[in-house]
């Protein structure tokens, strides 16, 4: 991989400068690649256009962060809450789109005051620019200049503060870590939704089969507790589920620690009997009101039981139990992805 090239006829300076100016920070080395094409300027412009557009597209995709877009949309739209919807959407969407390209340019971002100032200027230019374009193309969609001015100042300043914070927290590009993290996030989102469905089921069952206050409290509290206890008991770590459990030293790889912590927060095939017991307890508590309805019917005291609701909840319980088997498979796949990322990381640390 040593550089053995001999100097070649360089491309015209203006093309080189233009490409460097348009290229995202993380793909800057591609401007150098153009020196390998001994072509006339007009042909080189085409190659440069391809290189620049491909790099911008890739880095816009890589730098995209859904939470950031959501937060920025909220902050930028706040000054326009009392204005007509469509013109406000156009102004905010323009700023959001241009900020995505800016994200690609400065990825991963350093959160410096200079960057924050540039962010504010970019957002403001996009908002004003959108009005200029509307003035040319569709004047009836323009907003009152005073509202635009106020919204631009408030929106761009607040978005710049928000982005300074986000840039400080943006990790370096690491595809393995990113892939493993996406699997982890997706798995936990589905587990959270499943857990919410379980809690909804238990509250619905409590209503369908009325009981005392203490029983209702225990039925509402126990499933969540037993789920997290089962999850916690299977991971052999101290501290919370989502925290790194080991101290960070100069000999430890923080990314490896982060991935290990993610592994611990996933549902693993557990040999720990107590963990398996809590998993069973979870489903027993979930089924308890339904079983107690049948008990009351046998006992002849089922006058206040809402039977259609009990039947529906029983079907829901069976569905949730089946979904749990699928969620466990998803956890296994997420664990495999994290293990693969860890293995690659260790292998590449050895190669250097």
């Amino acid at each position: 991989m040593n550089e053995t090239r001999s100097p070649k006829p360089a491309p015209p300076r203006w093309i080189e400068a233009f490409v460097k100016w348009l290229m995202p920070r993380s793909a800057a080395s591609r401007a150098e690649d153009l020196k390998d094409y001994p072509l006339p300027a007009w042909q080189l412009v085409w190659k440069a256009a391809g290189t620049v557009s491909a790099s911008n597209l890739t880095w816009t995709r890589r730098a995209f962060n859904f939470e950031r877009v959501l937060a920025e949309s909220l902050v930028l739209s706040t000054p326009f809450w009392w204005t007509p919807a469509l013109p406000a959407v156009i102004v905010v969407a323009s700023a959001i789109a241009v900020l995505r390209v800016r994200d690609a340019f400065i990825y991963p971002g350093e959160g410096t005051p200079a960057e924050a100032t540039a962010d504010a200027l970019v957002a403001a230019s996009a908002m004003v620019g959108s009005q200029l374009l509307l003035w040319l193309a569709a004047p009836w969609l323009m907003m009152d200049p005073a509202v635009v001015a106020r919204g631009t100042v408030i929106g761009s300043l607040s978005v710049s503060l928000l982005r300074a914070y986000f840039h400080l927290k943006t990790p370096e590009y690491d595809p393995d870590r990113h892939r493993a993290a996406s699997w982890f996030k997706a798995t936990w989102r589905i587990m959270a939704m499943w857990l919410i469905a379980c809690i909804t089921l238990i509250f619905s069952s409590i209503e369908a089969v009325p009981g005392g206050l203490v029983r209702n409290f225990l039925l509402g509290f126990c499933p969540v507790m037993s789920f997290f206890l089962a999850l916690k008991l299977q991971s052999n770590t101290l501290g919370g589920l989502f925290r790194r459990s080991e101290p960070i030293t100069i000999f430890t790889d923080p990314v490896e620690q982060e991935l290990s912590a993610k592994k611990n927060a996933l549902w693993q095939r557990s040999d720990i009997v107590l963990s398996q017991c809590f998993e069973v307890v979870f489903f027993v508590v979930l089924a308890f009101p339904l079983v107690s309805a049948v008990w009351r019917w046998l006992d002849g005291t089922a006058g206040d039981v809402d039977w259609p609701q009990v039947a529906t909840n029983f079907a829901a319980l069976l569905t949730l139990a089946y979904l749990w088997t699928q969620i466990k498979k998803l956890n296994t796949e997420a664990l495999r992805q994290i293990d693969e990322a860890l293995a690659v990381r260790r292998e590449e640390a050895v190669i250097g």
Binding site: M1, N2, E3, R5, P7, A28, S29, R30, A31, E32, D33, K35, D36, Y37, K47, A49, G50, T51, S53, A54, S55, L57, T58, R62, P175, D176, H178, R179, E340, V344, E347, E348
Partner: protein, 109 residues
């Protein structure tokens, strides 16, 4: 989604990187892809594919040494184990297709 299944252009790019060994950087890969595909291919599509393969974990890249006469260091690409596995799988599929189709072509012609 099975990330091990490669498209035809991805196969071309991975094969180019594999064949170039230590010397696999943008323009060289582009040149090799044109040679393998026997048609004109834009540099933009090669870069986009390189980036996508890197995101999938099939390729790894790192900067080389900066040139002596100044300028940015180039990015060199190499195949990772997942890339080799995916490429081998693609070749095996192609071989099976060829074995199935070839006798039929001979019969028809």
């Amino acid at each position: 989604m099975n990330e091990d299944v490669l498209g035809q252009f991805e196969q071309l790019v991975l094969t180019a990187v594999l064949s170039l060994g230590e010397d696999a950087y943008g323009p060289k890969i582009h040149e090799k892809v044109i040679e393998l595909a026997e048609r004109e291919v834009s540099i933009g599509s090669v870069y986009i594919t390189l980036d996508r393969l890197e995101d999938k974990g099939h390729l790894a890249s790192k900067p080389g040494r900066p040139p002596q006469w100044g300028g940015q260091a180039r990015r060199y690409y190499r195949l990772r184990a997942a890339g080799q596995r995916a490429l081998r799988q693609a070749f095996e599929t192609s071989r099976r297709l060829q074995q199935t189709a070839e006798p039929l072509w001979e019969f028809k012609t």
